[in-house]
């Protein structure tokens, strides 16, 4: 089964035909290889998370599990837009970033299972992915409290002159909380090399944007911080990459912070414990037409004539990799008892 099956009905509608024309325009100029690369990068994340959801249902994963399904293009584009020493800081919806940035897929799965071989030794679970070697600087589970920290990374870059840009991601639900405002204030006063990215997936848990943000356009606040801003629907990796890259450039070249609002959608509930009853099927269906994964698939099929068999092969390879990761996660041991006393203080 390719990723397209799920939306085959929706694709049959008139709206979908219109979308097909749109897609042709949007992906024109993208090579087949690049388009396929982007597609597979997104698909890999989606397959990883579909497996995570199943493992959660089977009781293999516990705690909170927030899926990135629908938003994968952002992580993939981010990886493409940044330099090797840049930093990516995120909230708790982090699997996509880890995989896109190159974290070991087995270590990711093992972390979800709370195993010693996990990305953070089983200490953090889904909400606390960190992978310094792959530019992933969190993984924070208190809404907004990573924004000042990320601002601190950017401060350090200016202090040391390391030339790195910090990209920090937050949800639409995070923009009201104080620490976000304080971090942005400092980045604005000090002119730090940072990009603030709001992943506006329309909801914070069950709360739609209009109940959590006073105005429709989140970037309206950029003027108050003296930031550049940009705001767009995320429908493909390449456009997203280009617009993130522009902000990264401004940060690196001129210490000019930006506020980006990336309009997107999560197709699953807030976390695995949320049945998402607060929204209608029609709404979800409409957004499916914008799903970058679906659109990229359509581009591959329509513009580059990629056939089902080839797609199946790619998918099978990904599924095999993902399955192996979860098998590893299941088999690998829990942390030893004494691990609970480690990494609290050092030098004792």
């Amino acid at each position: 089964m390719t990723a397209s099956t799920a939306t085959s009905e929706a694709a049959a509608t008139t709206t979908a035909e219109h979308a097909a024309a749109e897609i042709a325009a949007q992906f024109k100029g993208q090579s087949k290889d690049d388009t396929l690369r982007d597609y597979l990068a997104m698909l890999r994340i989606r397959r990883f998370e579909e497996s995570a959801a199943r493992a959660y249902t089977r009781g293999k994963i516990s705690g909170f599990l927030h899926l990135y399904i629908g938003q994968e293009a952002i992580a993939v584009a981010t990886k493409q837009a940044i330099a090797a020493h840049d930093r990516v800081v995120s909230a708790y919806r982090t699997h996509g970033f880890a995989l896109a940035l190159g974290s070991d897929i087995k270590a990711c799965a093992a972390e979800l299972f709370g195993k010693a071989a996990g990305l953070v030794g089983g200490m953090g679970g889904s909400m606390h992915f960190f992978d310094k070697a792959h530019q992933l600087w969190g993984g924070y589970a208190i809404v907004g409290n990573h924004i000042p920290v990320a601002t601190g990374h950017a401060f350090a870059s200016k202090y040391t002159g390391d030339g790195a840009v910090t990209l920090v991601f937050m949800g639409d639900g995070a923009v009201g909380i104080g620490p976000v405002h304080e971090g942005m204030t400092l980045a604005g006063v000090w002119k730090l090399p940072i990009v603030f990215v709001v992943e506006n997936n329309q909801y914070s848990m069950g709360t739609p944007l209009k109940r959590s943000v006073p105005v429709e356009d989140i970037t309206a606040r950029a003027a108050g911080y003296g930031f550049h801003s940009d705001r767009f629907h995320v429908t493909s990796v390449h456009e997203t990459r280009a617009r993130i890259a522009a902000a990264v450039d401004r940060a690196r070249a001129d210490n000019q912070p930006s506020l980006l609002e990336l309009i997107t959608y999560r197709f699953r509930g807030h976390s695995m414990s949320d049945p998402a009853k607060y929204r209608q099927k029609e709404e979800v269906d409409t957004w499916r037409l914008q799903d970058p994964l679906e659109r990229t698939l359509l581009a591959l099929q329509q513009l580059h004539g990629l056939d089902e068999a080839t797609l199946e092969q790619h998918d099978a390879k990904i599924i095999a990799e993902v399955d192996a990761a979860y098998e590893f996660a299941e088999a690998t041991p829990q942390p030893p008892p004494e691990a609970r006393f480690e990494n609290i203080l050092v030098g004792e």
Partner: protein, 326 residues
């Protein structure tokens, strides 16, 4: 008597007080349309409408402060923290406004408010989501702090808290919302400030509260099998502490253990110990011991988390230790 879950008892308390008093309202993240992250407010939006069941953005300092400001105007807000872990970002509002405004204004304004929500560790939520907040709040003069462990106590104490003219921090537990128990059909309240003997015994006093109450009761069961009669005192109110109840029991048993969900250093557990050793010094046949979390940030891994938690077995070991038994 109906058999209710704690979440239902809490909802009924809020519902009855909202029916009784137009000034009472509920505010917090996802309390309305979502019916509460843990469904404690299920149906309240439908019944009372969006004027009195108010969904907020994720701004704990903001809505804690709004509650305080509304209480100063004579309203009686119930502010739900989705979990008390998120009250950390609203700490200043509770410390410097809720607790002090009556004093600071020389009684011109009062702050009749309830801050409620689940507290302490649930299951595998990791270090930022597994913290017990009573050490922070019970320390502060100007607040009352309550922790509940049964549907009966939850309903009776929450109603008292809502009617109280002072700010009350009301601690629930995520893993206990489904705990069932009898709740009277007729209206009742339980006074804040009174501990409850959850099981009588004469050999050792086990002082406990909140999520540790069932652990303590199981500890007592285990002990009973070895012929040890443990008296389990559920403090229910952590500030003000019911020192009389503690002392009365300890003077009978001459031995005490404090068993709770939370880190060891300082906090309510130590306060209990300090009072016992001061006020019942000559009655003590052994030091007072505490059994609680290990002194570490909570790990996610299931096996490690379990090792960090208090258990009936650990409780029993402490009970035997104060009896100088092995």
């Amino acid at each position: 008597m109906a058999i209710l879950q704690i979440r239902q008892a809490i909802r009924d308390a809020m519902k009855e007080e909202m029916l009784r008093d137009e000034r009472v309202f509920l505010m917090g993240e996802e309390v309305g349309h979502y019916n509460g992250a843990y469904k404690a407010s299920e149906g309240l939006l439908e019944q009372f409408g969006a004027r009195r069941v108010i969904d907020t953005p994720i701004v704990e300092t903001g809505f804690a402060g709004v509650g305080i400001g509304a209480a100063m105007c004579g309203l009686r807000p119930i502010i739900e923290f989705m979990t008390f872990n998120f009250s950390a970002v609203a700490f200043d509002q509770i410390l410097n406004n809720a607790a002090k405004i009556r004093h600071m204004t020389h009684g011109q304004f009062g702050v009749p408010i309830v801050f409620r929500g689940p507290n302490a560790a649930a299951h595998m939520l990791g270090s930022t989501h597994s913290q017990a907040f009573e050490p922070f709040y019970a320390h502060i003069p100007g607040l009352k702090v309550v922790a509940v462990a049964t549907p009966y106590d939850a309903k009776g104490l929450l109603k008292s808290a809502i009617r109280d003219d002072n700010p009350v921090v009301f601690l629930e537990a995520e893993l206990m919302y489904s705990v069932k128990g009898e709740v009277p059909d007729e209206e009742y309240t339980i006074p804040i400030g009174k501990a409850d003997i959850k099981r009588e015994g004469k050999h050792v006093t086990l002082i406990t509260w909140g999520q540790a109450v069932p652990i303590s009761l199981k500890t007592a069961e285990l002990a009973a099998k070895e012929g040890i009669e443990v008296e389990v005192i559920d403090l229910r109110t952590l500030r003000p502490l019911d020192t009389d109840a503690i002392l009365a029991s300890v003077m009978k048993t001459n031995r005490a253990v404090v068993l709770f969900h939370g880190w060891p250093y300082g906090g309510v557990g130590c306060e209990v110990i300090a009072r016992i050793q001061e006020l019942a010094f000559d009655h003590l046949d052994a030091p007072v011991l505490r059994e609680c979390y290990e002194d570490v940030p909570f790990p996610y891994a299931e096996n490690l988390e379990h090792l960090c938690l208090p258990t009936p077995e650990k409780g029993l070991a402490a009970v035997k230790k104060v009896l100088y038994k092995r």
